[in-house]
């Protein structure tokens, strides 16, 4: 029951080992090989993530879930190139963009200028920036809020500006670190729909970190379960549910239940150690 490799058809039959679902002849969008990250040294050294092998196919939406201390955020930082792995290799096809739980918008800039800054820093010529910003604002349905400052927007709107800013980076891989974690359930549901519809044509890849299993089941093509201290891949679940999905649908709930029991087993194992 707790072995994800032998769960029922809804959950799929992906092996818990490495290298799934990348079609032959295509490079994975993100490839991790034996990636470890150790903080500190000597006797106080702490391994945040330990020998992670993971391939993410182009256009795939992968959710990483795990209890506290599983190194989810560390992993995203490594993929984003903000930090270097202690051992192992990380290959990313194309550019990455990273979103946080905090929208991290610059308070001195308007909505439009926050998005424009991402273009400016990529050296997009000035004449091209205006129309790009306008189209990005339309993408996240905020065209009438172009001149507002971050403090005048709600949490959900700020997160959508952050999403537009991430799109402005023209990233091939969008890394999301619990981006909807601080939002209320209603706003989160709507943003799930929003994200799904923006990603519908699968022109980019998403690696989405969350501790919310339902959210993972709602969004993911594949859920990767990480163990805690150190973070290791302990299970993978393919989510074969038609899109667009609803978070309250029985199929999503069933997968969430299976993943939750896997996570609980993981937590119990820690108590026994």
């Amino acid at each position: 029951m707790n072995d994800p490799r032998t769960t029922d058809a809804d959950v799929g039959d992906a092996p818990a080992t490495t290298v799934p679902s990348v079609p032959p002849g295509r490079l994975p969008a993100v490839a991790l090989r034996g990636v470890s990250k150790v903080y500190g040294g000597g006797r106080t050294a702490v391994a945040a993530v330990d020998h992670i092998d993971l391939d993410v196919a182009p256009g795939e939406l992968v959710c990483l879930v795990g209890a506290s201390g599983c190194g989810k955020s560390t992993l995203l930082n490594l993929i984003a190139g903000l930090d270097r792995p202690t051992t192992g290799r990380i290959d990313v096809e194309g550019r990455t963009a990273l979103m946080f739980q905090d929208a991290a918008l610059f308070p001195w800039l308007t909505t439009a200028s926050n998005i424009e800054l991402a273009l400016k820093l990529r050296k997009v010529p000035k004449a091209e920036r205006r129309p790009r910003v306008e189209s990005l604002l339309r993408t996240v349905h905020l065209e009438s809020f172009a001149d507002k400052r971050p403090h005048e927007l709600s949490g959900g709107m700020r997160q959508r500006v952050a999403l537009a800013r991430a799109f402005a980076q023209d990233a091939d891989v969008l890394l999301m670190d619990e981006p909807f974690g601080a939002l209320d359930a209603m706003t989160r549901d709507i943003l799930h729909d929003e994200l799904e519809s923006l990603w519908r044509d699968r022109s980019f890849t998403i690696v989405f970190v969350t501790h919310n299993v339902r959210e993972a089941a709602r969004l993911a093509d594949r859920i990767v379960v990480l163990s805690s201290r150190p973070g290791r891949v302990t299970a993978m679940f393919d989510v074969d549910v038609d899109r667009p999905r609803r978070i309250e649908s029985p199929e999503v709930s069933e997968i969430a239940a299976t993943v939750t029991s896997q996570l609980r087993e993981e937590v119990r194992r820690h108590a026994r150690q």
Binding site: W108, R122, S154
Partner: protein
């Protein structure tokens, strides 16, 4: 697929509805009311202060040549204005203030940005800057006079030394208190090196920098007054010169009139110029309490 289209429409409407519901309602106060609410305590304090002064004069504590009544000071102030003495004096003094303060901004900003981000430099001179800030600027004058003689440069030197450390410290404190998430966001967007300075660190330090400017101005103004009392130059009838001259001829009313001018300029630059700038920035950033 019509089903999916209907769903998209519903989703867009939900999003728009949520946006409107979540936006804060702006219950604005009328401009006149706000102005009155901030003005009347100041007027009351002024009336009280002048009243106290008048009472002390009436008590006969000091003869009138030492402590003139408000009325006499007021008359002298008018006289200065009509003669043009005050205009000349203010012209000389404000030019010194402007040049010194501008130089202090340039030096303070350069030193502040370097010290804020370069670790060894910070360890070396960080506490020295704070030390300079607490050093009374008048203590610099003997050295300034030895180096530059009795000259404009001596005054300028002390004004800059008075103001620059505060300005540098404002910038350093601003850079120290940038939320780390904004620095990370900047790095993710590709702001490195000089671009990080220009697009993240400097704008993020702005509120604290303006605080430093404000404090720097206060120090510059004090240093300048001290300088004009100590370094009296021929043909330069500055505000400080007026103070000295009135003391020498026991003209208490003229002295008090000059002091009022000094006080008013200090307040106007501090609260009107920097205060307005500070409030504008805080409002833009959403740091102002909505109730105020």
């Amino acid at each position: 697929m019509p089903g999916s289209e209907a769903q998209t429409l519903a989703h867009d409407q939900e999003l728009a509805g949520l946006d409107l519901l979540e936006l804060a309602v702006d219950a604005g106060e009328s401009r006149g009311r706000r102005l009155w609410r901030s003005t009347w305590p100041k007027v009351a304090a002024l009336v009280l202060g002048i009243g106290f002064w008048q009472v002390v004069v009436w008590s006969g504590w000091r003869p009138e040549f030492a402590l003139a009544p408000p009325r006499a000071a007021w008359n002298d102030l008018w006289e200065y204005l009509e003669e043009g003495t005050l205009t000349t004096a203010l012209g000389i003094t404000m030019r010194r203030a402007a040049v010194g303060f501008a130089l202090a901004i340039v030096i303070g900003t350069i030193v502040g940005s370097l010290v804020a981000r370069i670790r060894p430099l910070r360890a070396a001179v960080g506490s020295l800057i704070t030390g300079l800030q607490t050093m009374p600027s008048i203590a610099w004058f003997p050295l300034a006079i030895l180096i530059f003689k009795l000259s404009e440069q001596a005054i300028l030197f002390v004004v800059v030394l008075g103001a620059a450390p505060s300005i540098a410290n404002g910038l350093i404190a601003g850079a120290d208190t940038i939320p780390p998430i904004l620095l990370r966001a900047g790095r993710v967007l590709g702001a490195r090196g000089l671009a990080a300075y220009r697009y993240v660190i400097l704008p993020a330090s702005l509120p604290s920098f303006v605080g430093g400017l404000k404090q720097g101005w206060a120090f510059a103004w004090r240093s300048l007054m001290a300088g004009e009392l100590l370094v009296v130059l021929r043909g330069k009838e500055s505000v400080g010169f007026l103070l000295n001259q009135n003391r020498e001829v026991n003209n208490s009313s003229g002295l008090l009139a000059t002091m009022i001018v000094i006080l008013v300029i200090g307040i106007v630059v501090d609260s009107v110029l920097f205060g307005t700038l500070e409030r504008a920035i805080r409002r833009r950033w959403g740091l102002l309490d909505a109730a105020r």
